[in-house]
């Protein structure tokens, strides 16, 4: 295994000093340094070069390895068939790629991805797009619970309905649900945006720290510290642009969408007086 030296190379890596103070890592930006659009280690791929992968008889590990091999061979488009609702497929892809999945995925499909555009013709199980960093995932049918758990970036789109706890612990990115979403959607959400075109279940945005939830249908009930806010022009413009990207429309028009944000009463909760904690909850 290679080693990371703690001295000598630190300045080459952009560090002013090896002694870091608190959370700050002071680094040099060089605006003219790089014109790369992908990670330095990512293989160069050509979207016109198409690879095919039939998952029949393969296990998830072999499928994920084969996807990487195809990218190493320069395939920028991969057509994957017969996934058989296996769990943990198409995970950890850290490169630009057009991935077309014909069929359905099981639990934790497309987790930890950073860059690819994925289209799934069927359904997905629990936690699709979990910890997703960048890229797009479009699911043509329904999705299970904890859809987009801890997502950090990118667009995660389900054209159908999704289960409960959608976007739990969301830390960024955009989750779009074409239909209904279950209870505790946006639970402990920290930032990012969520667009629900249908109805939302009970306790929407419960304990959310920050972020924004837009709802086109009815809201069964708001969670602790989730409050309504006013749509502004930038919201409307962004919502229209985002929905147009995926050919989706809200049933009652963008102007009638409800916007939910954090009330911020739970911020610094540990330091609240007991009486204040009671008031918040």
């Amino acid at each position: 295994m290679a080693t990371v030296s703690t001295s000598g190379q630190s300045h080459d890596m952009g560090l002013h000093t090896e002694k870091l103070t608190n959370r700050t890592q002071q680094r040099f930006f060089d605006a003219g340094e790089s014109a790369n659009f992908t990670y330095a280690w990512a293989p160069e791929v050509d979207t016109n070069k198409v690879g095919t992968l039939d998952c029949e008889g393969m296990d998830p590990t072999a499928i994920n390895i084969r996807i990487r091999e195809l990218m190493d061979e320069g395939c920028g488009t991969i057509n994957l068939s017969n996934p058989g609702s296996m769990h943990a497929l198409c995970v950890g892809i850290l490169n630009r790629l057009q991935l077309n999945v014909t069929g359905s995925l099981g639990y934790f499909g497309c987790g930890l991805i950073d860059g690819p555009n994925v289209n799934i013709s069927g359904r997905v199980g629990w936690s699709c797009g979990e910890n997703m960093m960048a890229g797009t995932i479009v699911i043509e049918k329904n999705a299970g619970s904890t859809f987009g758990a801890a997502i950090r970036g990118g667009d995660l789109v389900c054209r159908g309905d999704v289960g409960s706890r959608t976007g739990i612990d969301q830390k960024g990115g955009t989750i779009i649900v074409g239909g209904k979403t279950g209870a505790f959607t946006g639970f402990m959400m920290q930032r990012g945006r969520m667009i629900i075109l249908g109805d939302a279940g009970m306790n929407l945005g419960d304990s959310m720290y920050d972020g924004t939830i837009y709802v086109g249908g009815k809201i069964e009930g708001l969670g602790v510290d989730a409050i309504p806010a006013d749509l502004n022009d930038l919201d409307r413009k962004w919502l229209k642009s985002k929905l147009d990207l995926y050919g989706m429309e809200t049933p009652n028009g963008i102007d009638n969408m409800q916007k939910i944000v954090a009330g911020k009463q739970l911020w610094n909760y540990d330091n609240l007086e007991p009486s204040e904690k009671k008031l918040v909850l």
Binding site: S34, F37, W41, G92, L234, W238
Partner: protein
């Protein structure tokens, strides 16, 4: 968040009584909910979107110029730390343009062969 764009550069940012009492700010020091206005998008970011086959900023929508230790900075999630904006870069007078600068600089930094993730990946990546 409707306050002076230089609020965290020109003040200590301790605005509420509770913040003054504990001596630190509570919550984010920039508006995490500010969605991008694409009319401010730079040429470099437009090229990046085309390369990735995205029609908008995708994950960069969540990147904003923030402030750390009284200096403009951008948070790099890949190193879990703030990266300081050099003093020689003039900061525009509005947050949208500042955010676009932050996105461009962060992107160049992350995709650079000098990014710490390159060495960390060589040392620890399992696949």
């Amino acid at each position: 968040m409707s306050q002076d764009v230089d609020h965290y550069l020109t003040t200590d940012g301790l605005d509420s009584d509770r913040e003054k009492m504990i001596g630190q700010t509570i919550g984010y020091r920039y508006d995490v909910n500010l969605v991008p206005d694409m009319s401010h998008c730079t040429e470099y970011l437009t090229e990046y979107m085309a390369k990735m086959n995205w029609k908008d900023l995708n994950w960069l929508e969540d990147v904003h110029m923030g402030y750390e230790e009284d200096r403009a900075a951008v948070f790099d999630r890949n190193i879990n730390g703030w990266v300081t904006i050099p003093d020689n870069i003039e900061l525009p007078d509005n947050q949208q343009d500042r955010d676009m600068i932050a996105r461009e600089l962060l992107l160049k930094f992350q995709m650079s062969a000098n990014h710490p993730m390159v060495e960390l990946r060589a040392a620890y990546a399992k696949f």
